[in-house]
Symmetry: C2
Subunit: 194 residues, 2 copies
C-alpha cells in the first residue's frame, strides 16, 4: 500500500533492520484527507508530523493585513509539519491545507516519542530532516532577496517541475512573493522567448 516510499525516504539517512521497519510502520497512521482541508491553523497546536505519500499541501502564513504568504508546498516524498509548534507543543502561527486529495503517513507527538524510545536511530533521521529544512529555507531566503521575479520562477520550476500543472497559479505567485498578475506576465514573456 505504498509504505516503500516512506521507507526509502528514511533509508536515505539510516539503515533499518526488519524489526525496526516493523516498529516504525506499526506506529504510522495512514490517513486520507480530502482536498481543501485545513490540518492546522493559527493558534492551535500542531499534533502531527506527516509524510506525503500522495497529494499536495501548502503551508502558509497570514500577516496582519490578511495577506497570505506560502512558505512551502509539500508533495509526494516530502514531510510536512510545523516543527516548532509540534515539538514544543506551542500554538502555531501557520496554516497547513491540502490542495489535492492526499494520503499521509502520520506521526503524533506520542507515536514519535515511542519511535525515538524504541529506535533511537530515528533521532538522526529527524535531526537531518530538520537540517535539510533549514538549508532549504536559507536558500529560499537568499533567492528571495537577491533574484528578480523571473529568475525565482525559473528556480521554482526546477524545484517543483510538476506543480504548475497541479495548483492554481496564484498560489505559486504567493510562494514567490509576487502578484498573480505579474506572474502571468512573466509566463507570457517566457512563452514568447522560446
Amino acid at each position: 500500500m505504498g509504505l516503500e516510499s516512506i521507507l526509502n525516504n528514511v533509508k536515505k539517512y539510516v539503515t533499518l533492520t526488519d524489526e525496526e521497519v516493523n516498529i516504525f510502520t506499526n506506529l504510522l497512521v495512514i490517513q486520507s484527507v480530502p482536498k481543501k482541508t485545513l490540518l492546522l491553523q493559527e493558534g492551535s497546536v500542531c499534533d502531527f508530523e506527516a509524510f506525503v505519500n500522495k497529494g499536495c499541501l501548502r503551508t502558509y502564513y497570514i500577516d496582519e493585513n490578511g495577506f497570505e504568504v506560502i512558505l512551502q508546498f509539500s508533495i509526494e516524498d516530502w514531510w510536512v509539519s510545523d516543527i516548532a509548534s509540534f515539538s514544543m507543543q506551542q500554538p502555531s502561527q501557520l496554516y497547513i491545507e491540502t490542495l489535492e486529495n492526499s494520503e499521509l503517513f502520520i506521526l503524533t507527538p506520542e507515536t514519535k516519542e515511542q519511535l525515538l524510545a524504541q529506535v533511537p536511530k530515528f533521532e538522526r533521521v529527524f535531526r537531518l530532516l530538520l537540517q535539510r529544512n533549514l538549508s532549504a529555507t536559507q536558500n529560499r531566503l537568499i533567492q528571495t532577496i537577491s533574484k528578480p521575479a523571473q529568475d525565482k520562477y525559473l528556480e521554482f520550476l526546477k524545484k517543483y517541475p510538476t506543480l504548475p500543472q497541479r495548483v492554481a497559479q496564484h498560489y505559486i505567485a504567493s510562494y514567490l512573493g509576487i502578484s498573480p498578475e505579474f506572474l502571468s506576465k512573466i509566463r507570457n514573456r517566457l512563452a514568447k522567448n522560446s
Copy 2:
C-alpha cells in the same frame, strides 16, 4: 572569564549537574578573533560551532553576480556556524566573518561528538537550537516577502537594537535586501517623523 553567559544560554534548554557543567566547559575552546577575520568561506568545510561571548559576526552568501546577501548577524549570546556544512562535513556555500574583535567559545566536530557521548542531554540542546534557527529563518522569509522595506527595518531594529551603532549601514541594507541608498532615505524619513 565569562562562561556564565554560555551556561545560562544552555540552561534555558536543560538543567545541568556540576559534573556536566565541568565536562562541557572543559571541551570548549576559548578563542579571540580580531575583526575582519574570515572564519569560513565558500568551498571549505565549517569546522566550528561557536557561541559568541563578545563581538559581532556576519554570515553571508555571494551570488553568481558577486552580490552579497547577509543571512545573519551573530552577537553576544548567539550561536554561529554553518550547521549543514558542519554536521555533514560538506563544503559550505557561506562566508562567516567577524565585524568586531570577538571572543568565541568553540566546539569542533570532535569535541561536539565527545560532548554528546558524555552528556546526551545536549542532543536536546542542539535540536532546540536548530529548531529556533529554523523558526527564525522562516519568520525572516515571511517578513522579507510580505513587508515593505521600512517595516523590515523597524523589525530589524527591534530584533537587533544595538546593531546600527555597531556595524556599517550597508551591511544592514544587505541584510534587509535593499540598497544602502534606500536605507539612508528610510532612516532620514523616520528621523523626520518623530
